[in-house]
Amino acid sequence: MSRLNSFRELEHMRRRLCQERQNITTTVMACGGPGCQASQSQAVIAAIRKELSQQGLDGKVRLRATGCHGFCEQGPLIVIEPGNVFYCHVSPDDAFEIVYQTVVKGEVIERLLYTDPVSGEKARTESEVPFYKAQDQQLLSLNRLVDPCAIEDYIAAGGYSSLARVLDRVAPADIIKEIKASGLRGRGGGGFPTGRKWSECREAPGDEKYVICNADEGDPGAFMDRGVLEGNPHLVLEGMMIGAWAVGARKGYIYVRNEYPLAVKYSRIAVEQMRELGLLGENILGTSFSFDVVISRGGGAFVCGESTALMASVEGKVGEPRPKDVHTVVDGLYHKPTVLNNVETWANVPAIIQNGSAWFASKGTKGSKGTKILALTGRIKNTGLVEVAMGTPIHTVVFDIGGGAVNGIPIKAVQIGGPSGGCLPVSKFDLPVDFDVLYEVGSMVGSGGMVVMDEESCMVDVAKYFLAFLQDESCGKCVPCRLGIDRMLEIITDITEGRGTLKQLDLLEELADTVSQTALCGLGKTAPNPVLSTLRYFRLEYEAHINDKKCPAGVCKALITYSIDADKCNGCGACLRWCVQRAITGEKKQTHAIDARLCQKCGICRSECKFDAIRVV
C-alpha cells in the first residue's frame, strides 16, 4: 500500500477498490465476534474457506470474517448476500452444504434457519428475525461490511471520507458546533454532552492536547465497546481523528482492556495500516494535520473508568482518581487538556459528520439522541448486542428483542448500567432507554449493560454481588468508599445469611446516603445505587430474608434447602452418581431423597437432573 497524499488519492483508492470488487457478487459474512468465537466460529470460517477453495470458488466468492453481528446466543452466525440468508448455530460440518447448496445453487438450507421460539416460524432472511426487527442498527450493522483487519474494506465502504471532508472544508469550530447540535452524549456512563467537552478542551490554553478512547470496558455484564472496537476499529479511529482535529490534538491513546486480546490486536493492526497509508503521521492526506495513536493496555481495574484514574494509568501509574476541581478537558493526561470519550461515542462521530447533526438528532428523545448499543444478557431467551434508538421502551428490548422469559420463569427485573446503575422492576418496563428518565428512577443508562433477572434471581444477592465487586475494586484512596462499602457489605451479608434485623435496613440506607454524598470519585458516589434501587423496589425480598429467614428466589445458600420432587423424579440416578457429598440416596427407578445434613448445596444435582426434579426452597 502506498501513502495517500491527498483527498483525491483517497477517493481514487476507494473507486479502484469498488471496481475490483464489482465482479464478486456473493459474500459470506461469518461472525467472528467474541460470542461466536467462544462457540468455535474460527473452525467454521476455516471450514468454509477450505470448502470454497475445493469447489473452485477462490476469487469468485468473498468470505468475510467480521466482527459481532449481535445475536451471540445463536452463534456461530453466518449471513450470505445476496439474499440476506441467515444461518445460526453453524458447525464446521455444515460447510460443504452451505457452499454447495446456498452459495452455488442459491438454495436455502432449512435446518440452519432460525426458528422463532414464540411463533415457531422459520426466518428465511436476517431481517425477518424478530431479534433484529425491532432494532435500529446504525453502528453494529457496519460490522458486517468490514473485516476488522482490512483497511481496504473500510475504505471501500466509504471510510475516512468524513475525515477527509472535515480536513478539506470544515473548520474545527464548526465540527464542534455540529457535534453540539447533534445532541450526542457520552456513551460510557456519564452521558456528558460530547460537543461541550470538545469545546471546553479546544478553548483550554496550551498547544499540546490529547484525545483518548476509553476501551477499558470494566463494567461486568457489558461488551458493547468490545463489539464495536473488535468489529470496526477504523470507525473508532476515524471518530478520534475528527475529534483530534476539532480540539487541536496531535496525539491520541486507545486505552483498551487486556482481557480483550482481539481488541488489542485489531486496533494495533488498524493503526499500522493507517500509518502505512499515511492516515496517521505527519501531514495527513497532504494537509497540515498531524496525528498519531498509541495503544495502551489497561490493567483490569474498574476504577480506571474514572477519567482521572484512567489518565494516571495511561501514564504508567497506579490508577487512583484525584479530585476534579479542574476538569480533565483543561488538566488531563500529563496535565494537558484532554478529551476522553468511550468507544461507542467516538464511533458515532463519522456518521454525524457524514449525514449531519439533524439526521442524528432525528432519532431518540428530547435529551437523548441517536441510538444506543445495549448488552442484553442474563435470564432471557435472546442474548447479545442490541442497538436501539434512544427512547425505546425497556419492554421492547426485553420482550420483543430479547424474547422474554426462559423456561417460563417470570421476569422480575432488569439491572441497567452496571455497578453504578440500579435494578428496575417489571412495573417500570414502559420507561424508555433515556439518560435522564432512568436517572430519575434510580438507575442509569450507564454504558448500556442490561442484565435481565427472573424469579430465580435474588435481589438481595444481586445487591451483595455489586457491593462485593465494588469493595474489591475500590482503590482505597478515600474513606467513605473504602470503609462505607465494607460496612454495607457486612450488613447485606448478615441479611443473606439469616442474621439480619429490620433496624439494619435503616442503617444501610443511611450509610448509602453518606457514601454517595462524600466519596471522592464516581465509583464511590454511585456505589450505593444497586443497594438503594433494590431496597426501593424489592424491599419485600429483604424483609423475607430478615423476618422469615427465607430466600424467595432460592439463591442465598444459608437460607435454602435442596429436596427432590417425588412427582418429577423417575429414579434415573444421575444426581446420585454426581453427588460428591453422597447426600443423595435411592434405589434405581425409585424416588430419590437428599439428606439435608450432608448436602453442600453445590448445585451439581440440579444441573445434572434432566427432569427438573430438584427443588430449592
Binding site: 451471540c72 483490569g300 448445585g603 451439581i604
Partner: protein, 163 residues
C-alpha cells in the same frame, strides 16, 4: 520458554517510566507471571523505584505475582454470569482443587482465578480453560471438565515417567 527476554522487552523503552504498565504486560505474557527479579530489572530499566513497580504490579488485577498451575481456569464473575449461577462454579472448582482462587494445587496441575468480566456475557456462565472458552457452564459440566483435565494430567505425567 519466553519468546522475549527481559532485555528485549525493555529495548527501546529504557528510562521511560510511562511504559511501566506496558512492560509489565509484556513480562507477564512472556513469563506467565511477574517475578521479583523481573520487577528489579524493570525498575532499573525504566528508572522507576522498585517500590513503585511493586505497587503498580499489585494494584492491577491483570498482573500475577505467582506462577499459575499447568491448567489455569478463569471463572467469569460478571453480572450476567452471576445471575446464571457463576458463584456455584467458583465454589465447585475451589472445592475440587482444595485450594483458594489464586493458589496452585500441590501437584502443580491446577489453579483457578476469578475475573470481573470476560466480555462474553451473552453465553454465560463462562469458564476459560487454558485459553479455550466454555459457555453455558453448569456445576456438573465443570466437574466433568476438571476430571478430564486431571486424567490427562496424570497420563501425561506417567508418560513422562515411562520415558
Amino acid at each position: 520458554m519466553p519468546s522475549q527476554t527481559l532485555e528485549q522487552i525493555l529495548d527501546g523503552r529504557r528510562s521511560q517510566p510511562n511504559q511501566l504498565i506496558e512492560v509489565l504486560h509484556d513480562v507477564q505474557e512472556n513469563y506467565g507471571y511477574i517475578s521479583e527479579e523481573a520487577m528489579q530489572a524493570v525498575s532499573q530499566g525504566l528508572g522507576v523505584p522498585l517500590m513503585e513497580v511493586c505497587r503498580v504490579a499489585s494494584f492491577y488485577k491483570a498482573f500475577k505475582l505467582k506462577p499459575c498451575g499447568r491448567n489455569h481456569l478463569i471463572m467469569c464473575m460478571g453480572t450476567a454470569c452471576h445471575v446464571r449461577g457463576a458463584r456455584l462454579l467458583l465454589e465447585q472448582a475451589a472445592s475440587q482443587f482444595g485450594v483458594n482462587p489464586g493458589e496452585v494445587t500441590p501437584d502443580g496441575l491446577f489453579s483457578v482465578e476469578h475475573v470481573n468480566c470476560l466480555g462474553t456475557c451473552a453465553l454465560g456462565p463462562i469458564v476459560r480453560e487454558n485459553g479455550a472458552y466454555h459457555h453455558h457452564m453448569t456445576p456438573g459440566k465443570l466437574r466433568k471438565l476438571i476430571e478430564s483435565l486431571r486424567r490427562q494430567g496424570t497420563e501425561d505425567r506417567q508418560n513422562v515417567q515411562a520415558k
